[in-house]
């Protein structure tokens, strides 16, 4: 079960270890949950916490892109935190690190994202 919390206006979606998978159907389930979190995010600011994620593939990128597009339609934004080297490499290879900010910790991400919300 992925954990969803709200901190200083930022919806934090912590991805559970059960989604540490490349299986398309498992990630489809993650996508449904992620999109539900996006719909409920008000303001539309989402932080994906990858603390318990050790690797990601194109299916994960696919569901994240879908979530990001929905946020963008609502003039929102998305960022990631606690991204390990391998996941960072995948983001870099697909150049998605150029559109999503990546923060070392949840605290730093929330601080920055909530600051931008209030400015």
């Amino acid at each position: 079960m992925s954990n969803i919390t709200r901190v200083d206006g930022v919806t934090v979606f912590e991805i559970d270890q059960e989604y540490d998978s490349l299986d398309e159907q498992t990630l489809n389930e993650l996508g449904t949950k992620m999109l539900a979190a996006v719909e409920q995010a008000d303001p539309p600011v989402l932080l994906l916490d990858l603390t318990r994620t050790t690797f990601i593939g194109s299916s994960f990128l696919g569901v994240s892109i879908r979530a990001w597009k929905r946020l963008r339609d609502r003039h929102g934004r998305m960022a990631l935190c606690h991204v390990n080297d391998l996941c960072r490499e995948v983001l870099k290879a697909s150049k998605l690190d150029s559109i999503w900010d990546v923060y070392p910790t949840r605290e730093e991400a929330v601080q920055q994202m909530s600051k931008e919300l209030s400015s």
Binding site: S21, L22, G57, L61, V90, A93
Partner: protein
């Protein structure tokens, strides 16, 4: 010489177990009064078998079974159980104990039970040693379009990559990602001919169509061939689907800023990122991926 570590808080029972085993073969013995002490003995030197009582202070037999299973998976543990503890004995077997002998039947059954478990353990150790000597291996699979088979193939090949393969653990995960991406492409795009565009517009419809086509002609009879050759020098994986193939050069470049938000082409991009060499056959329904040893 074969060594048995006897773990029991009763010195009399330890002596009894030793006496019963001495008659049956050329064994040497070590002793511990409870689970914690047994783990200390195991750190000093490893026996061929652990024979333990169930009820003990400090750490009981069940906890000891779990600890040995985790830290010394090749050392078998046999439990000696008192009357009425059959349920715990079953629990111990589930946790990985090699067997149990009721204390009331020690005289009759202990020696035979220990001998049988030792024989199995010796054979298992020989197999493990032999697997350590494997210098290369080849596998060929023909799988249908059931997505669960994708993970099964990747897990299986990962096991051999870790024993024989040319790279460290981090690189092995990269290979697993590339391999899985290639198999997903082969099943969904190759055999079932489902476009990434549909996934982009309607993910549910994408999976429903996949499910339907798994049952329909001509898709349902299509298979994926996977050939793997793994050695310490390099690992080569060939994945071939039974679909019409495609021209990889027509895929949009997912790193082009104009395509960043598109879903298609990312799997192949990751394959190219994580493998040292990637090539397609002329009709585009076969991909060959090579991972070489760390330089």
């Amino acid at each position: 010489m074969t060594t048995v570590l006897i773990v029991d808080d009763s010195a009399v029972d330890r002596r009894l177990a030793q006496g019963l085993l001495e008659k049956s073969g050329d064994l040497s013995f070590a002793y511990a009064a409870h689970g914690k002490e047994a783990l200390e003995r195991l750190q000093e030197s490893q026996p061929d078998l652990v024979l333990t009582d169930l009820q003990m202070p400090e750490m009981n037999g069940l906890e000891l079974v779990r600890a040995v299973r985790e830290q010394y998976p090749l050392i078998p543990v046999i439990l000696m159980t008192a009357q009425g503890s059959e349920e715990i004995a079953v629990q111990a077997l589930t946790c990985g104990a090699a067997g149990y002998v009721p204390k009331a039947r020690l005289a009759k059954e202990l020696a035979a039970n220990v001998e049988s478990v030792l024989t199995t353990a010796r054979s298992q150790r020989r197999s493990e040693r032999l697997l350590d000597c494997v210098s290369s291996t080849q596998w060929s699979f023909v799988i249908d379009n059931d997505p669960s088979m994708i993970a099964a193939v990747v897990d299986h090949l990962q096991q051999y990559m870790s024993r024989v393969g040319p790279c460290d653990e981090t690189a092995r995960i990269r290979v697993a990602i590339a391999l899985e991406e290639s198999l997903v492409n082969a099943v969904y795009h190759g055999n079932l001919e489902i476009s990434s565009d549909l996934r982009e517009s309607d993910m549910t419809a994408y999976y429903e169509l996949a499910e339907r086509r798994r049952q329909e002609e001509p898709y349902r009879n299509r298979v994926v061939h996977v050939d793997a050759a793994i050695s310490r020098r390099e690992a080569t994986f060939v994945v071939r689907d039974s679909g019409p193939g495609f021209d990889p050069s027509t895929l949009p470049d997912p790193t082009d800023p104009a395509n960043l938000e598109k879903l298609s082409g990312r799997g192949l991009l990751l394959i190219r990122t994580f493998m040292d060499e990637v090539r397609h056959n002329a009709s585009g329904n076969e991909i060959t991926m090579v991972k070489r040893g760390d330089q």
